[in-house]
């Protein structure tokens, strides 16, 4: 159970980074930390005691294996995370091009 609490601590760090920091790049890093905390939680849920990776091979038979379904889900989540990160970085670069700053307190205009 305590290992899930550690996962929650990483998630809270990500939340703190997103709401408290003022630099756009640091906010993007916070979003990435949030994403990886959720991915880590899914992988931890999938773990079975003394389980091994669910890979068939010719010689041996897998009897006690970890749950492969969250692993597939996490793989898809990583792909989507890559796409959203690229989008966020593109928006941050456009913001810098327009305002010449990464500080969100100085980006005040609503229109344009």
């Amino acid at each position: 159970m305590s290992i899930y609490l550690l996962c929650l601590i990483i998630f809270s760090l990500g939340i703190y980074c997103v709401v408290r920091k003022r630099n756009v790049i640091k906010i993007i890093i916070g979003v990435i930390i949030l994403e990886y905390a959720v991915n880590l939680f899914f992988v931890l849920v999938a773990y079975r005691v003394n389980g091994r990776a669910p890979i068939f091979s010719a010689e041996q038979e897998v009897l006690n294996m970890v749950d492969p379904l969250p692993h597939a889900l996490v793989l898809t989540a990583i792909v989507i995370g890559l796409a959203t990160t690229a989008l966020l970085v593109g928006i941050a670069m456009r913001l810098y091009e327009k305002y010449r700053t990464f500080d969100i307190t100085k980006i005040r205009e609503l229109k344009g």
């Binding site: 890979i55 593109g90 670069m93």
Partner: protein, 158 residues
Amino acid sequence: MSREREKGMSLIVKTITRLTVGLIFLYGVYIVTHGHLSPGGGFAGGVIIALSFVHLMLAYGKEKAFEKLSRAAASLFEDAGAILFLSIALLGFTGGYFFLNFISKGQPFKLFSAGIILPCNIAISLKVGAGIFAIVVALVLLEFELEEEKKEEKKGKR
């Protein structure tokens, strides 16, 4: 040696890149072609193939990477991957239904064993490899446009 003429990183990085970039590409191809036997597959292998080109771009500058894989070629490979995957799926209609495994299954745990999974992995690797290379290229070119604007502004101020 002036720094404007020498694009990219230092000599150490360039030498190591020249030695390792082929091995990285080959490892990506291995991951793709053994995707149905061991962990890996189209996505992971495609990422490794794309990273070999990104590695080249980081070490030598963008012109050298565009010599190996130009923007038009990356776009072509990405479209070809999508069309190849769809056509493999549609070819299943020759035997009955969508995504039918119409190639013979073969011996288990051999390289040519799992029917259409190997061609599907190759199509996914084309799509993912060219796509991730295109994302990095888009970000790099955007940055260069910014720097050119800055230079023009400085000239205007002077």
